[in-house]
């Protein structure tokens, strides 16, 4: 209630409304609630008013009602004429249930977009349902006030629920979700609207809804403020909001019933227009037509309305089911804060970080944003660097024109060339140096590590484009300012490339269904927020600059339900969208989810005891495996022979079929080895229960991995899918047998590290065959000795699989690894999966992508073939500038990932990133993203160490720092040459590179097992940036005295935020306890004289001596410090998909080397300390 009072009465200031006929009567923004609103309503709408107040009698003016209503008024005043503000009012009282129904009908009524909208909603829901794991994660990352904006943007992005052909009907239909739409048919929308509203059924429904309304919370009011400028947003938001409440608080069943009732009533209503109110509303209709002529430019609304009612009755069914689905999805996830949960569930994707950007536009920028010229980019350059948003007042002058109608709309697109030419000369003025260019003296500044985690630099774009830009979590460029020419790039000596995490779990993702996906005709770019609309019917591709036509269907905007606003479509409002592809995108029917498990059951494997864990995890997660009713599953085990399992439905117990001819392995039965998960579930469970004990007495030590893989390939080739291989030793029989290549004496050699490449191309060939059959091979290597991961990893690398490695795995001797396997498996089995995927990365003409890093096969130069894609896979690409980018001020990159979802839908996920082009070297440095650069360098170094040698790779890494810093110093001539200066943006570069040199993958001199090294390299190639950075440079926190200072609140939990510590032993004290977050593992190091109260309160032991050596969990103690420590750790855990294992390390325990090896700033016997490294760099620069 109090929240809206803070909103400036914007509507009064906006001139747009003045043109509407009823402008004089426009209600001034009122803060108090519906009653006052009504009083101020224009005389012309007296009838409405009456009507309305009558209905508002039905609806008790619940506190939160007032909030949106006021917003609505504002909106109306802004955008249309005041007359529509009346109907707006009742939105909040109605509930979602019917409004969803209503929307559904709406869509079906409209000729084209019918399926698009309906399918869209459905798609969003279905995508939510198989995203179990993602929901909680993203969610916890969001702080509470933040999350409120999240949810509102959800509505704005994904759900074109309240949309219609015309802006004006939009309002009315959204207002009266209780079947306002059918009434349109009569041609007097308002009359009908009111009719339906005053029906008894509505009142009845109302009863179910009033209670939840009263429980409005703070987040909710916030949420409703957000959509100020975004009319449709506010509708869908509030609709969902109330639905949410219903679902969480009311009896779900009764709700469904109630809404069904209403639905039928509404239909009756539409066919027999009720008389009473019609005559009242006629004047209203007339005015509405008039004003719509003002607001919408081309079409006359009435005719279109008339065409729509016919299909209304037929739509009840789908809408009901839709509602049911909505109920289901919301009920599954409602918990502590139902609001977001619900949206999560409905949307099935989302990146919390960008939400605020996408969701909270003030009304004015909103309207001016829509034309989306390149124009505003550069004048705001300077503020951009200072992270001040360009003032909205700058935008305002353009607004009146926009309000008055779309006739003027083409004028708002300034010529791109014209603008870029005027802006071309702009560059940073050194007199006012931006923060990222501030010179930092590395040798003197000892505390360069910030206390909070390093964030991605924000591209220097104007605030509108910045809001639209892709989340840095999905898409990052090493240079957020792209140099104009290759010469400039060469001068900067920084790598240019992209870091991608395309299939990331998103809590919120707009899903779009439409029969035509709008793409550029020459370069096939998907339409994105950074295209420019030349006029209403044409758009210019931002990658190849071709002018394309806007298809007829695209003119209709399902989000606002308006026609002729292509620039407001969700595709053009979101840089991350997902399309549900039409049948053009598939020539064979989408494959079902097929999972094959290939398990090593040789003596070694049985001894290690992994089978129990795997089978147990599978049993637990069998129902959570992503898939639909067609999901199939199969098992193969192997030692010196290959065993198949017949799980055909109807058998009393699983049958084992042994093939001992490993030289020419064949499938014993053509079918029934891969069985339907649901039909044969009992047999599968029997098998999983029996497997761990089945081989307990085996004496077979050989492992015929190659033949087993060949058999698996044969089994999978008709369908494609995923093969999960569990291997515990060096394959020793049949095709693909390997020999030990590691010389243990060479482990700590500083010279040549050999055998980083594969020993045989059997696995590579097999991977390519699998890739061709859309099968990915995931490798779990659980070995105690050398297993030649370099060769084995090929099977996953080229088939787009993933690799897990558990060195010295043993179920009882090494509980940390066992726990890790268990957690990894849980994530692995339940995470989202995309089958038969391809990914293509496009970029603006002039840039070219030349090298890809990750697990995939490059099928043609720009097309990555991914048999499977998983949410934990990251990719990197290197780019070069082939033609200078003189005629553009912005460049864009687009990743399109086409995949088959586990539900058998063909989907395309598109990310678009937009970055400015700069001409001066200083700007290039200012925009450098040091984390991305380091990750890209790490990828390049892995390639280099395999193709050339490890020492070459290490030299290249050092040279990268030396070159870039010396290039910087030579540009900044005024700096004294004696000290090592870096721009602020690159101040962490030497530190990260040093950390990389001490990483397992690249270190020399320290004893490193070859498999460990190779595994680290595989991780570098396939991990997304966030995880990779944790691997390279872990975060160190002191946790023995956590305070609530600067703490953040997540889900009603206080999460302390201790400052990041330098990775140096000087920060460790004997009195303290420290947590090191290495991405996949947490170390807690406890000093010898650690405070007893910490040990007692957090660890639950009386003193230091009694703490056991192997502790992998913090006990749940009822003390403040324990609570803080646990909430901090679980907050860290929630921020990543893999659940890291906790390992407690006492100061004198032998495991402490694991901890100390990560202290990269310290000197080791074989490597520089950070300071020495800086001196080394300085020396190299001076040379």
């Amino acid at each position: 209630m109090s929240a809206p009072a803070g909103i400036p009465p914007r509507s009064a200031a906006v001139p747009g409304g003045a043109r509407a006929p009823a402008a004089a009567a426009r209600p001034p923004p009122c803060q108090n609630g519906p009653v006052q609103n009504q009083m101020q309503f224009p005389f012309g709408y007296g009838l409405h008013l009456e009507n309305y107040s009558a209905s508002s009698g039905h609806y008790p003016p619940v506190p939160h009602e007032a909030v949106p209503s006021q917003l609505n008024n504002q909106y109306v005043a802004d955008y249309h004429s005041a007359c529509y503000s009346i109907p707006v009012q009742s939105v909040m009282t109605t509930s979602v249930g019917p409004s969803m129904l209503n929307t559904q009908q709406l869509y079906s009524g409209a000729p084209h977009p019918v399926e698009s909208a309906g399918g869209l909603t459905q798609g969003a829901i279905s995508s939510a349902s198989h995203l179990h794991t993602s929901v909680p994660q993203s969610y916890s990352a969001v702080s509470s006030h933040y999350s409120s904006s999240t949810s509102s943007s959800v509505a704005s992005q994904g759900f074109p629920l309240s949309s219609g052909r015309y802006a004006m009907p939009t309002v009315s239909s959204a207002v009266y979700p209780n079947l306002s739409y059918p009434s349109m048919s009569v041609g007097s929308p308002y009359g009908q609207v009111f009719t339906s509203q005053s029906l008894p059924a509505v009142g009845q429904f109302e009863e179910t809804n009033t209670f939840p309304d009263q429980s409005s919370t703070v987040p909710r009011t916030l949420q409703q403020q957000v959509p100020l400028g975004y009319n449709s947003t506010s509708w869908s938001t509030s609709d969902f909001q109330s639905a949410q409440d219903n679902f969480s608080r009311n009896n779900t069943g009764s709700l469904a019933k109630a809404s069904n009732q209403i639905n039928t009533v509404g239909i009756v209503d539409s066919s027999h227009p009720v008389s009473q109110n019609v005559q009242f509303t006629k004047p209203g209709v007339e005015t509405s037509v008039v004003s719509s002529a003002v607001t919408s430019s081309i079409r006359t609304p009435v005719g279109d309305h008339l065409t729509e009612p016919a299909s209304v009755p037929s739509n009840t069914q789908p809408s009901e089911s839709l509602l049911q689905e909505a109920i289901d999805s919301s009920s599954t996830t409602s918990s502590a804060s139902p609001v977001i949960n619900n949206y999560d569930a409905l949307e099935g994707g989302g990146y919390p970080e960008t939400n605020s950007a996408a969701s909270s536009p003030a009304p004015t920028p909103q309207t001016s944003r829509t034309p989306k010229p390149f124009g505003y980019g550069y004048p705001t350059l300077q503020p951009g660097y200072q992270n001040a948003t360009p003032s909205t007042s700058a935008m305002q002058p353009s607004n009146p024109g926009h309000h008055s109608g779309f006739q003027q709309y083409p004028q708002q697109y300034p010529g791109v060339n014209q603008l870029s030419s005027t802006l071309g000369g702009l560059s940073l003025q050194h007199s006012q140096q931006p923060e990222s260019l501030r010179p930092v003296n590395l040798t003197q500044d000892r505390n360069i590590l910030p206390v909070s985690p390093v964030l991605a630099p924000v591209p220097n774009l104007n605030s509108d484009l910045r809001k639209l830009n892709c989340s840095p979590d999905s898409f990052r460029c090493t240079l957020t300012n792209i140099p104009q020419t290759q010469a400039l790039l060469n001068k900067a000596k920084l790598p240019l490339g992209l870091l991608l995490h395309p299939f990331r779990d998103l809590t919120q993702l707009p899903v779009i269904t439409s029969s035509t996906i709008v793409r550029c005709r020459s370069c096939r770019t998907y339409i994105n927020p950074f295209v420019s609309f030349i006029d209403q019917r044409r758009w210019k591709c931002n990658l190849c600059y071709r002018v394309n036509d806007v298809p007829e269907e695209f003119m209709y905007n399902p989000l606002t339900r308006s026609y002729g606003e292509p620039h407001k479509r969700p595709e053009v409002q979101n840089s991350t969208v997902e399309f549900i592809a039409s049948s053009d995108y598939m020539l064979r029917p989408p494959q079902p989810a097929v999972y094959l498990f290939v398990l090593d059951v040789s003596h070694n494997a049985v001894e290690a005891g992994y089978l129990t864990i795997v089978c147990q995890s599978l049993l637990e997660n069998l129902d959570k495996l992503p898939g639909d009713s067609r999901t199939r599953i199969g098992f193969i085990t192997f030692d010196s022979t290959v065993q198949f399992y017949n799980l055909q439905e109807g058998l009393s117990q699983p049958q084992m079929l042994i093939v001992s001819d490993i030289d020419d392995v064949f499938l014993p039965t053509p079918d029934s080895l891969l069985v339907n998960l649901h039909e044969s579930k009992e047999l599968i469970k029997d098998l999983l229960n029996a497997l761990p004990t089945m081989f307990i007495n085996t004496r077979e030590t050989h492992s015929a991995l190659g033949p087993a893989l060949q058999a698996a390939f044969k089994l999978m080739s008709p369908t494609g899918g995923r093969i999960s291989v569990f291997q515990s030793q060096l394959p020793s029989l049949g095709a693909g047998l390997l020999h030990s290549r590691e010389d243990p004496n060479q482990r700590s050699s500083t010279k040549v590290v050999q055998h980083l490449g594969p020993a045989t191309d059997f696995y590579k060939k097999l991977a390519l065959d699998c890739s061709g059959q859309q099968t990915a091979v995931d490798l779990f290597l659980l070995s105690s000795q050398y297993s030649d991961l370099a060769s084995l990893a090929c099977m996953s690398k080229y088939s787009a699989g993933c690799i897990y490695y558990y060195p010295s795995f043993h179920h009882s001797h090494n509980p940390a690894q066992a726990e890790k396997l268990q957690k990894d498996l849980k994530r692995y089995l339940t995470r989202k999966i995309g089958f038969e995927a391809v990914m293509r990365i496009r970029c603006t003409k002039g840039l070219s992508i030349h090298t890809f890093h990750g697990n995939f096969f490059v099928r043609s130069t720009d097309l990555l073939s991914l048999a499977n894609v998983n949410p934990d896979a990251g990719f990197a690409v290197q780019m070069s500038i082939e033609e200078s980018l003189t005629d553009t001020s912005l460049v864009c990159f687009q990743t399109a990932l086409l995949y088959t979802s586990s539900k058998g839908e063909r989907r395309i996920r598109v990310h678009t990133l937009c970055l400015p082009v700069v001409t001066s070297l200083a700007d290039v440095y200012a925009g450098a993203d040091v984390q991305a650069a380091v990750c890209l360098l790490a990828n390049m170094a892995v390639d280099r160490s395999v193709s050339s040698s490890l020492s070459d790779a290490r030299d290249a890494l050092v040279n990268a720092v030396v070159d870039s810093l010396s290039a910087y110093i030579s540009t900044a001539s005024n700096l004294q040459q004696s000290s090592l200066i870096a721009p602020n943006s690159l101040r962490l570069f030497p530190l990260y590179v040093l950390a990389l040199l001490k990483q397992k993958a690249f270190r020399t001199g320290t004893s490193t097992r070859l498999d460990d090294r190779i595994y680290a390299m595989c991780q570098i190639k396939s991990q997304p940036l966030v995880h990779l950075m944790k691997m390279i440079h872990p975060s160190l926190y002191r946790i023995d005295r956590l305070t609530n200072e600067g703490a953040i609140h997540v889900n009603d939990r206080v999460v302390p935020q201790p400052p990041l510590q330098k990775l140096s032993a000087e920060k460790l004290t004997r009195e303290g306890a420290f947590l090191m977050d290495c991405g996949s593992i947490f170390y807690i190091w406890i000093g010898k004289s650690c405070d007893n109260s910490f040990i007692k309160d957090v660890l639950g032991y009386p003193n230091y001596a009694s703490v056991p050596q192997k502790l992998t969990q913090l006990p749940e103690l009822d003390t403040l410090s324990s609570e803080r420590a646990r909430s901090f750790i679980s907050w860290l855990r929630d921020s990543r998909p893999l659940n890291p294992v906790l390992q407690l390390i006492k100061d004198e325990s032998p495991a402490k080397t694991d901890f100390f090896q990560h202290l990269v700033e310290d000197r080791t016997e074989a490597a520089f300390s950070y300071y020495e490294f800086l001196l080394h760099i300085q020396q190299q620069i001076c040379k």
């Binding site: 995108y585 020539l587 494609g720 594969p758 020993a759 590579k764 890739s771 030349h850 043609s860």
Partner: protein, 160 residues
């Protein structure tokens, strides 16, 4: 005019050079085929096409691998013949390429030499463009040397 060993060398190398030119042209075509997928983007995404395309790539890579040794050995044979015929200038012209071939052959990234031109590596745009450039350069070199051998052959036949 006499039919010397040098003249014979040039005659033989003329014929073999024609074969090398053929190889070079074949390489160029093969790399071009690898680089471009002559399918509409929608077809490219189709799993059925994916399989064909992959087979195609593997086949081309297999052939490329097969051609490596013949090409290198033919060229080395030239050099040995010119060495024997004491045609120092011609030998001098060919020696850089011989060394380059040796470097290419023995500087194999992987542990086993059978991995030269392996599909994942070749499909890298960087490698591919390098290979393509290499093939064009070789084509130019072989063409020039073809005419040079022709000239030298006639010259030796006429002069001696």
């Amino acid at each position: 005019m006499a039919f010397t060993f040098a003249a014979f060398c040039y005659m033989l190398s003329l014929v073999l050079c024609a074969a090398l030119i053929f190889f070079a042209i074949w390489h160029i075509i093969a790399f071009d085929e690898l680089r471009t997928d002559f399918k509409s983007p929608i077809d490219q995404c189709n799993p059925v096409h994916a399989r064909e395309r992959l087979r195609n790539i593997e086949r081309i890579c297999f052939l490329l691998r097969k051609l490596v040794l013949p090409e290198y050995s033919i060229h080395s044979l030239f050099c040995i013949m010119f060495l024997c015929a004491q045609e120092w200038l011609t030998l001098g012209l060919n020696v850089p390429l011989v060394f380059y071939h040796f470097w290419r052959y023995f500087h194999c990234p992987a542990d086993s030499s059978e991995l030269a031109y392996d599909p994942p590596a070749v499909m890298n745009a960087d490698t591919l463009s390098y290979c393509q450039k290499e093939a064009w350069c070789k084509l130019a070199f072989y063409l020039l040397s073809f005419f040079y051998y022709l000239y030298c052959m006639i010259y030796t036949l006429v002069s001696s």
